[in-house]
Symmetry: C2
Subunit: 146 residues, 2 copies
DNA sequence: TCTTGACCTAAAGTTAGATTTAGGTATTAC
DNA sequence: GTAATACCTAAATCTAACTTTAGGTCAAGA
């Protein structure tokens, strides 16, 4: 079963030029062409693209994803390198999640701040900081302010 | 209490040119200068920078952060707009966290895959997919494959 | 006095990740 | 036979967010 670039584009909601660009950057291994030169993607490329999307989300650059693909193409002897790359990426993404959770705390504080400012006015909310905050809000406030 | 650009730079681990760039882009309200033209930051700018860092993490562009700062400068009448911006940002960051958690599932699968491939060889691991995976791994595999 | 360090500006350069443009081929539908 | 559709390439352009460069001011210390 093979897929055209248009089918891949729909499957992953990525533009056709983006897929060509990924190909040019060396992200697809063993990407064959049909008689007229059109790319023929298959299940391996579908899986590759799943991994690419996930590595991109976790903050890896395209050139580093390419390096990973090169390791894949070298076969069994690079299994340990690849494992180590994913272990690094795991740590990386875990710390990204923590960072976002901190940002979320600040945002929750600001949501409370503006909801209260709508009712009482900004001056009054400011006067509540930091001692007269509701317990819940005091918590997130302290997490985000030293 | 005021701070020089160098002090702010250390406080937030941002380069001095970056702080000047943020200033040029209009991210700092009421940023005064001393007699020789040096920027004089104060507590308001410290708090602004905390918010800027957090909005940047949550994916907002500098021009949108600027728009928010413009709302702040318009005072009480924009409180509702600002509240709505933070509510949107809250949703946004929550979905970013979910996305990262999905990516993490894929990465956990790949960590298992390569750990097992180290022991048994890649061919053997591939043969275990999808029916003979350990329960835990089958779980994350299924979450990331259709 | 002079030099060191911290600041300033405007403008050019950089990088990643695409997107756009311009021109061309191959297949199918009418 | 021609028009629409889906693909192709190479090269130029774009955007965001900085960073670098080049040249200058100002105050303190040796």
């Amino acid at each position: 079963m093979t897929y055209t670039i248009g089918e891949m584009s729909k499957m992953f909601a990525l533009s056709i030029p983006t897929l060509r660009y990924y190909d040019k950057e060396g992200l697809f291994l063993d990407l064959d062409r049909d008689a007229s030169g059109n790319r023929l993607f298959d299940e391996r490329h579908v899986e590759a693209l799943r991994v690419i999307e996930c590595l991109k989300k976790s903050g890896l650059q395209i050139k580093d994803i390419k390096k990973f693909m090169e390791l894949v193409s070298l076969g069994q002897e690079t299994v340990t390198d690849r494992k180590e790359m994913f272990l690094r990426q795991k740590k990386d993404i875990e710390s990204k999640i923590l960072e976002l959770e901190n940002a979320l705390d600040m945002i929750k504080f600001k949501c409370w701040y503006y909801e209260t400012a709508e009712k009482l006015g900004e001056k009054e909310v400011k006067a509540m900081i930091p001692d007269e905050l509701p317990r819940e809000i005091k918590n997130v406030y302290e997490k985000t302010h030293i």
